[in-house]
Each structure stands twice: as C-alpha cells, then as structure tokens.
C-alpha cells in the first residue's frame, strides 16, 4: 500500500515520494547494477540512470506487475548500456555443441554466500556470465535475452548451456579452474 502511494506521488512528480523510492530500492538495484558493471563507480552511474529513467517513464507503469521487477529491468538495461554490451554480441559466428549429461555438484556449494557465488560466477566468460545472470538471477526468458542483447534465441540457449557446463567443470575440479579458463580463452569463447 505504501509503495502504491509512493508510485502515485512519483507519477505526479512529488520530490518526497521520489526520495522515498530511492531510499527504498537503491541498495537492491545497486546489487543488480554491480553484477553487470565492472566497477562500483560505473554501477553507481548506472543506478542514477536507472532512477532518472524510472521517474521519466513511471507513467507507463500500469501497476499490473511487480514494481521492483520493472525497476530491475531498467537497471539491467542501463547497466548493460553502460558496459556497451549490445553490439558486441551481435555479429559473430557461433558454434556450440553441448553434451547433455547429468552433472553432480557437491552439496557444499549450496551453503555459499553472495560473495563466494559472485567470485565463482565472475570466472565465467563474459558472454556466458551475462546470459547466465539474466536467465537464472533475473528470470528472463531466452526470447527476452535475445531481444535485449540483439542475438539469436538459439545463441542465448547455447551460451546458457555452455555456462552451465563451465560451472559444472569449475565446481567439480576447483584446482583446474585456471587451466580450464585458459583453454576456453584459446578457443575464442571469451
């Protein structure tokens, strides 16, 4: 109820409501921006852009879906814009071949916290990292990812599949991570 009142205030341009919105959502949205931006300063810039755009287009929010989800989507888009990710992934020939095998990850990984998980995920190649985050954390569909990154839907599936494979390998052989990544780099998948 409180959020709805703030949203209405923001729609009418009330500065206090806008401040309240910033206080309410900025730590979570900064976490989103931080995941897609290389450093903290860039993430803060992306967060500012997120709020500026949110205030500008808040009248388009119909109120049917989650408001936080709406804000998160803006944050993801702005963060990727900051990183100039859009056209990097468009025109390259992609070839993937995936073995669909049942992998087992040690249970100990289910107890890992945010920082440890972030360290593991950061070891993924950049394109796999982005697609994995968008699919697993943000809950985007492959169609939405394809649209956002201007790539084919199939490419999104392939990148996710490769990310899973890479993660499985990394977690199964933690001591071979560096050599594996080196091999991936040589293959041109980074």
């Amino acid at each position: 109820m409180e959020t709805e009142r703030i949203i209405q205030g923001c729609k009418s341009g009330d500065r206090k409501c806008q401040e309240a919105l910033v206080y309410m959502f900025s730590p979570r949205l900064l976490a989103v921006c931080r995941r897609y931006c290389k450093d903290y300063a860039l993430a803060e810039d992306a967060l500012q852009e997120t709020f500026i755009n949110a205030f500008r287009y808040i009248h388009t929010y119909s109120g049917t879906g989650s408001f936080e989800g709406w804000l998160r989507r803006i944050a993801v888009t702005k963060s990727l814009e900051m990183q100039n990710k859009f056209f990097k992934l468009t025109m390259f020939s992609l070839e993937t071949e995936t073995n669909i095998t049942e992998s087992v990850i040690p249970d100990v990984y289910s107890t890992l916290g945010e920082q440890e998980l972030a360290v593991i995920l950061k070891k993924l190649p950049e394109n796999q990292y982005i697609v994995f985050n968008l699919y697993v954390v943000e809950g985007y569909s492959h169609q939405e990812i394809a649209q956002l990154l201007s790539i084919a839907e199939g490419s999104s599936r392939s990148l996710l599949s490769r990310a899973r494979q890479t993660l499985t390998t990394l977690l199964a052989n933690p001591y071979q991570q560096s050599s594996y990544l080196f091999a991936q780099t040589l293959n041109g998948s980074l």
Partner: protein, 501 residues
C-alpha cells in the same frame, strides 16, 4: 545437488542481495543531476527555436531565389538563355515603374514651371528623338523580340502617349512628333529605347548613375518635364555618350557542349535469392539451406563518371561498383551419438579381496548431442555498369530521374562457411561458383537535389539483376539473385549549371 538446484540457490541468494550505499548522498547527487537536466531544457528550446527561425529565413531566401528560376519553363538545359531574359525583363519592369512614378512627379512639377522653358526643352527633346530614332532602330533590328518585350512596348506606348498629353496640355505646343502620337501612332524612338533597355539592362543602370550625379541633378531640376522621363535622350542631348559595357545577350544557339560529372555512391540492398536443385535428388543439405539460409543486407559502393550530351536531359555514365551480398545460416540440431570403447566390464573378487575374474568387452556410451551453428558467407561482386539516364526537373533544384543500364560483372569471389553436411559447415569452395557473371541489368528511379551549382545529392531506388546463376555447372544447385536496393549518391559537375547559381 544437481545444476538446477544450484541455480535456484544462486537465484535466491542474488535476488535478495543488497549492496550497502550511502543513500542520502546518492539521493542528493541524483536530484542535483535531475535538476541540472531540467534546467537545460529551456536553453534547448530557445536554441531549437533560433535554429528553426534561421532555417526558416534561409529557406524563404532560397525559395525566393528559386522562384526566379522557376519562371523558366525550359528546365535546366537552356537556363543560360532563360536567366538573361528574365533579368532583362525585370529591369524593364523596374524602369517602367520608375517612369510611372516620375510621371506623377512630373505632372506636379510641370504646373509650377514656366511654359517658355518647357517649350524650348521639349523642342530640343523632339529633335533629339528624331536623331536617336535611326540609331536605335538599327540596334533593335539586330535584337530579339520576345513576347514579354512586346507587352512592355505596348505599355510604354500608352505611357508615352499620356506623357505627351501632359506636355501638350501644359506647354500648349504643337510638335510634329506629338501630333503624330496624338493621332494614335506610337513614338518609335521611345519604344526602341525601351527595347534597348530591355536588352542591355546594365547600360540603363550606368545612365541612371549619371543622372544621379550632382551636375545632372541640377540640370534635371531645371528640366522637370524631361527629368527621368527620357534618360537616353537626355544623355544624347548634352553630348554624353555612356560607355557601353559588354552585356551578355541571350543566344538561341544550340551548341553541343558536354557536361561531365563524377558520382560516388553507397547503398544498401535486400537481396532476393532463389536456390534450386538442378537435378531433384532431395538433398538434405539443399533442403536445409533452402529452409535456414537467409540473405542478409547487401552493401554497395561505386564510383561513376558520366556525361550529359549537350543540353539534353539524357546522360550516360559508367564506373566501377563493388557489392557484398551476405548469407546467414542458422542451424539447430539434436542427434544421438553412440560411442563404443573396449574395456573392463566386470571384475569378480573373493571374500579376501583377491581378484578372481576380469571380463573385458565393449562399453557402449550413448550421448545426446544438441547444438546450434550460425555461419555466414559472402559474395563479393565487382561490376562495371554502363547506364543511360534521363532527368526531369521538378523545380530548379529538384530533379526526378530514371536510368537503365547493363552491368558487366567482372569478378565474383565467395568467402565464408557454407553448409556441406546436415550438421557441418566448411569454407565455401570457389570452384563451385562462377569467377564472373558476365552480363546483368539494372533499372531504377532517382531523386536528386542540387545543393550548389556543381554539387548534388541524390537517392536512387534500383533493381539489379544477374542473368546467370552464381553457382557454376559443377554445383548441384542454381543460386540466383535479384537485388533491390536504395542508394545514396553525390554528384559533382565539372561545370556550374546555370540553374544552380
């Protein structure tokens, strides 16, 4: 824990994640930035309004200039004549207007003058008219009469009649020439002078400057009846012979002069491909290519040199053109692979742990393999087009054109990777493609806008067709293209076109 459980754990962990932030400072920075942005808007609007105003004024100015050209019905070829005619015509009109004004002034001034003075001067004027009549007649006989000029003659006849009426009323003098005019015959000398002015506007301007000099002003004050009415006769009367400047008169000669131009061009196209099997053998590769291979946009660049023949709106051009047609293939597949290895399949041990039996055999592993491949290949085309075009001027600056031509393809180089088996790509085999396609055709429409007298910018919509298949007789398929495209070009003429001053 399998990967999906791990993903759920990641989702849950990150979805609730918060990063500590100095929210107050962040909010201050954010709102300061927003306020700064908001303050910028009025400046933007002011700047926009200024730019709009300037461009509007500029547009009006150019429109006004272009109106002068648009009176010529002949179009861009033969504008040299048209412009001179219009200039001369304008000067005659302006001169007539001055005369009408002066006539009114003269009427008022005449009443204040003494009849004796007027009588002497009008006599002199009449003598002068007779003297100059022959001269001017000769000049006019050599000149060209246009419809506009004849109209002006009729107007000037009426004016002269009125002026003479004024003279007669005020001065009460019966001159021979005046009597002639009163009887309804036009004074040829005046008429001829007007014609002369029409043909040599600059001479009139020169004489005007003489009349405006202090000495002559004094003289004109004494001769109000004559002042400004008949400037040519005044100069002749006092022995002043204005230095005639060289005036470019209109000619109707149809000299054949060629007009060269060069034309760089870039363009984008959307090729339409047809891929057909030569012998229907239900090849899976061709079927997959037909289904999944999509032509992407084609890129084009060209440099032409051309020539307009004389004043004809037709032109011929040739040059060198490069095109790149791209193909993209998306292939998704899902297959099961069986791998067989030889190894230990069973070991029997005793209770004490000793190995009793070891059985070796084939170990069969079934793998489901799915994948996606995206590959591109390109056709690089090198052409020499030879085109004939026609341009029709809609306005002095805007032209509508059409062109058709032949295209001699001198080179075709395929590059990239193409589907060779149902699951694999390989580099394109150039032996399966023609090295050159030979004769093709093109046809299109264009709109061209003259930025200056020498430089134009145009947009061309065109179809480019190749009569032959890109693949040669060795290949099992025919691959043909029709290439519709949009092209942006600039044109530089080596001679300034009159229309484009």
């Amino acid at each position: 824990m399998n990967i999906s459980d791990f993903e759920k754990h990641i989702h849950h962990t990150f979805h609730q994640q918060e990063v500590p932030l100095n929210t107050k400072e962040f909010a201050n920075n954010l709102f300061a930035r927003m306020d700064k942005k908001e303050k910028k808007y009025p400046f933007g609007w002011i700047f926009g309004a200024l730019m709009l105003g300037i461009s509007g004024l500029g547009g009006t100015y150019f429109y006004a200039n272009s109106q002068m050209f648009s009176e010529d019905p002949k179009g861009m070829f033969g504008k040299n004549i048209a412009i001179t005619e219009v200039k001369a015509d304008n000067e005659v009109k302006a001169d007539n207007q001055v005369k009408v004004k002066n006539e009114v002034e003269t009427e008022a001034e005449t009443e204040a003058e003494t009849e004796v003075k007027v009588e002497d001067k009008v006599k002199n004027e009449a003598v002068d008219k007779v003297k100059t009549k022959d001269k001017v007649e000769n000049e006019v006989n050599n000149g060209v009469k246009t419809k506009m000029k004849i109209e002006d003659e009729i107007k000037s006849e009426k004016k002269i009649e009125n002026e003479v009426k004024v003279k007669n009323r005020n001065a009460g003098i019966n001159q021979n020439s005046a009597g002639k005019m009163m009887s309804g015959k036009p004074d040829q000398s005046d008429n001829n002078k007007i014609k002369d002015e029409a043909q040599s506007g600059e001479v009139v301007a020169h004489e005007n400057s003489f009349i405006k000099s202090p000495q002559v002003n004094g003289l004109m004050f004494q001769l109000p009846l004559l002042a400004r009415k008949d400037q040519n006769s005044l100069s002749t009367l006092y022995g002043f012979k204005p230095k005639r400047r060289k005036v470019e008169c209109p000619t109707f000669q149809n000299k054949r002069k060629v007009l060269f131009f060069i034309q760089p061009e870039i363009g984008i196209s959307s090729p339409i491909k047809s891929l057909e099997e030569k012998i229907i053998d239900n090849s899976e590769v061709t079927a997959l290519r037909k289904e999944n291979e999509k032509p992407l946009e084609g890129l084009h660049a060209a440099l032409y040199a051309g020539v307009h023949l004389g004043r004809s709106p037709f032109y011929v051009k040739t040059g060198f053109a490069y095109s790149r047609l791209a193909e993209r293939m998306d292939l998704s597949y899902n297959t099961t692979r069986m791998d067989t290895t030889f190894g230990i399949i069973s070991v029997t041990q005793s209770q004490s742990g000793d190995t009793l039996t070891v059985i070796y055999g084939n170990i069969i592993t079934e793998r489901t393999v799915s994948g996606q491949k995206i590959k591109h290949y390109y056709h690089h085309l090198y052409d020499i087009p030879l085109c004939v075009g026609y341009q029709y001027p809609l306005t002095p600056r805007l032209m509508l054109g059409a062109e058709v031509g032949l295209v001699f393809n001198v080179g075709l180089r395929p590059k990239g990777e193409i589907l060779t088996t149902p699951t694999e790509f390989a580099p394109v085999n150039p032996l399966l493609y023609e090295r050159s396609l030979g004769l093709g055709w093109r046809a299109g429409l264009d709109v061209e806008y003259a930025l200056t007298g020498k430089i134009s910018l145009g947009l061309n919509a065109r179809f480019n067709g190749f009569t032959r298949s890109f693949s040669n007789e060795i290949a099992t398929y025919n691959q043909k293209y029709l290439v519709p495209g949009v092209f942006l070009y600039g044109k530089y003429y080596f001679r300034t076109l009159p229309i484009r001053h």
